[in-house]
Amino acid sequence: MTGLLHQLDADFLPQFLTGMTVNFEIAAVALALGLALGLLLAWARVGGGAAGVGAASIIGLMRAAPTFVVMFFLLNAIPRGANLFGVPLAPSGMMAVAVSLVPYSAAYIADAGVAAIRQLRARSPLGALLFLPNVTRAFFVLVMSSGAGAAIGVNEGIAVLLRQAELLPSLGDRLVLFAIGVAAFGIPLQIGFALIKALQRRLSRIMMRHHEETP
């Protein structure tokens, strides 16, 4: 372990932490876009009719779109100079990763949104509040998925880790470095999941109390 520390670049840790913030930024952008699109689709789906059928089809398509393929599609199928009303359409690497995660996040939010709207209609606002832990769960899944950016040169946490690993001569050292990476991503994730569980428990307790108090 001491040997490994000597072999690491002096600026590895700051670079890795900066890279991890990029993972969180990508997840935040993907979640924001997913919320906007997903809630719209959820609203259309609950409304029924042609719009509902259309929304269900779009959600089905988005569920089936692999993030990795969408990312390469966005980078390669949109001509560099393409623009819409003066806004450039070709995304940067980081935006390509964020947008490629939108089909997943929007489909997930749409499903959670439909459930929440149905709870609201059933006059159970607390049941609808379960939407919040679901959104938090989606955020952490997006953080983990944003590591795909390493494949297209986005300078996020996994990319920094893999670059450093390439310079290490032994498999043992590389595995130790990978373990550090797993821990670095895993600790916030597990804390996040623990928070979600705590939030869910609290909401359940409030709901139970609410049911008991309602005549």
Binding site: P66, G147, G186, Q190
Partner: protein
């Protein structure tokens, strides 16, 4: 006296021998004399009357107008730059020297990689000297001047600390390159992981930011960067490949005499070291020019016909790829689509044999990966589910710990770890990469699905209705209860298979990225890729929904 007689006799014999049988190279005369003759004949053909129709022959027109229109690049450091009205660089000096040799004034036009052939073929310029590689495809568009005035090669540039000495060290490394570069086919053949960019200008920046482990581009492109001490201190060329000769070019029609004159000038410039002098002045690589100087000083090459002597000139780079047997109908279909639907459909994967081979392998590998990932997920879900649902705290704890670790690792990192371990155990190959990907995807999704089964077991144990049920019956009911979760992770495993390209599995994403790196049709190709994967995943969703219904039905019956 005797000695003088003998010497005289020998001299007479030698003169006779030379007169009767001159050496082959002497038959063509000197290139200098031939050039003088060509230029004199062209000048003599100038229309005498003012306002007469311009000469059809391009050389005659150039000499009569006292002007040659030359296409040069505006920004290609060391070779041709145009700043503050000043043109500088190796090619600029070559252009001036050619105009001087013809005895006319140069008239420069800005050209780029996209229009350097069009402008000369349409007669809007007389000559293009624009960092243009001579390959067999371009031979049909313009007439290249021989001998070639420069030769570049693709070099792999990387950090000094990185040990890369041969193709064996390039396998599965990220190499940044530009789209459409012919040398990409070599990188693909040696299993490099390509990261493609539209412009070469971004490559040094991506090397510095460590986005690219290595970058592949012309040595002429990197020459300017290596002139920067900071860049040279950090990076070195690892090795070179795909040598390509550079040629000046003229139009294929009406330029026969101009081309012949320029062939002779190029020959003379090599022989006399003119090109070499310009190269030294602008600090571009000189090894090729030194070799060429030796060639064009050879008696058999230093003749009026040297430029047509196969022993003296270099061949064009052969970039023609073997077509498939159905390339023609595919091309006809592309034309039909464009004419009738107005859609620019390009299907490079169906038109050349190497692309078709990559495409077939990609489709087969993708389907194999999906089948493998689904099977591995299901098997590991059942195993880990059974273990997590067991009453043994040791087994339960171990399975739970494994699940937490797998949940905490981003899938890309899990793939890399699986790949590193598999390479330590087995020789590097496509099969190893596919196997590692299947195990990684199966473990990640199987652990999550297994957790759902384990949790379902725990809830079932707590229910009074299931008291007295055996472990097998309980497990069966748990499968039914966690059916939707199992299905969700099976779909996730299928959707995750393209990530296997990251560790070198030759699936469809890798195959199509490789194909588009050396051919056109990038947009169509990535549309097809997206459609393929969406359809495959939708088929998996349909299959998994059937599985879920069966599980739920069996649970309801039980």
């Amino acid at each position: 006296m005797d000695f003088r007689r003998i010497a005289c006799l020998l001299a007479c014999l030698l003169s006779c021998a030379l007169a009767v049988a001159p050496p082959a190279w002497a038959q063509g005369g000197s290139p200098d004399a031939e050039l003088r003759g060509v230029l004199d004949a062209a000048r003599a053909a100038c229309p005498l009357a003012p306002g007469a129709a311009p000469a059809a022959d391009r050389l005659t027109r150039i000499l009569c107008d006292n002007k040659i229109r030359i296409g040069l690049r505006d920004y290609y450091p060391l070779f041709a730059t145009h700043e503050n009205g000043q043109r500088q660089g190796f090619e600029v000096d070559v252009a001036h020297a050619i105009a001087a040799k013809l005895g006319v004034e140069p008239d420069f036009t800005r050209v780029n990689a996209a229009n350097r052939i069009v402008l000369v073929a349409e007669g809007r310029i007389d000559l293009t000297i624009a960092t243009m590689g001579h390959n067999t495809q371009r031979d049909g568009q313009v007439r290249f001047i021989r001998p070639h005035y420069y030769q570049s090669e693709t070099i792999l540039v990387g950090p000094r600390a990185l040990k890369v000495a041969s193709w064996a060290d390039v396998r599965e490394r990220t190499v940044c390159a530009t789209v459409g570069n012919g040398s990409n086919a070599d990188l693909v053949a040696h299993k490099a992981r390509l990261m493609l960019f539209d412009e070469a200008g971004v490559l040094p920046e991506h090397l510095r930011s460590e986005t690219c482990t290595l970058a592949a581009q012309d040595d002429s492109f990197f020459a300017a960067y290596f002139a920067d001490p900071a860049f040279a201190a950090a990076f070195v060329p690892k090795f070179g490949f795909a040598q390509v000769p550079w040629g000046m070019a003229v139009a294929r029609t009406g330029s026969d005499r101009l081309a012949h004159a320029l062939d002779l000038i190029s020959q003379i410039f090599h022989r006399d070291g003119v090109f070499l002098e310009f190269a030294r002045k602008h600090k571009v690589a000189t090894a090729f020019l030194e070799r060429q100087q030796a060639v064009w000083n050879r008696p058999d090459c230093n003749t009026a016909t040297g430029a047509t002597n196969g022993a003296c000139i270099l061949p064009a780079l052969d970039t023609e790829l073997e077509p498939t047997t159905f390339a023609r109908p595919v091309a006809a279909f592309e034309k039909w689509v464009k004419a009738n639907l107005g859609v620019e459909l390009v299907l490079p994967m169906l038109k050349t044999a190497p692309a078709w081979s990559l495409f077939r392998t990609g489709v087969a590998t993708s389907l194999l990966l999906i089948a493998g990932a689904l099977s591995a997920t299901l098997v590991l879900a059942l195993v880990l589910g059974a273990v997590q649902g067991s009453r043994s705290w040791l087994l339960h704890g171990a399975a739970r710990a494994l699940t937490v670790v797998l949940q905490s690792s981003p899938i890309v990192l899990t793939l890399v770890i699986a790949s590193a371990l598999s390479h330590a155990l087995f020789p590097a190959s496509a099969a190893t990469a596919i196997g590692a990907a299947i195990v990684a995807l199966g473990l990640t999704n199987g652990a999550n699905a297994g957790q759902a089964i384990g949790e379902a077991m725990a809830t079932l144990r707590a229910e009074p209705a299931t008291r007295g049920l055996g472990e097998a019956a309980l497990f069966s009911r748990a499968l039914g209860r966690s059916g939707s979760q199992i299905v969700a992770f099976l779909i996730n495993a299928a959707k995750g298979t393209p990530t296997a390209s990251f560790i070198g599995a030759p699936e469809l994403l890798t195959a199509l990225t490789d194909i588009t790196s050396f051919s056109s049709g990038r947009i169509t190709t990535y549309w097809l890729l997206l459609i393929f994967y969406i359809l495959v995943v939708m088929a998996v969703v349909w299959f998994c929904d059937r599985l879920r219904l069966r599980l739920e039905r069996s649970h309801a019956v039980a």
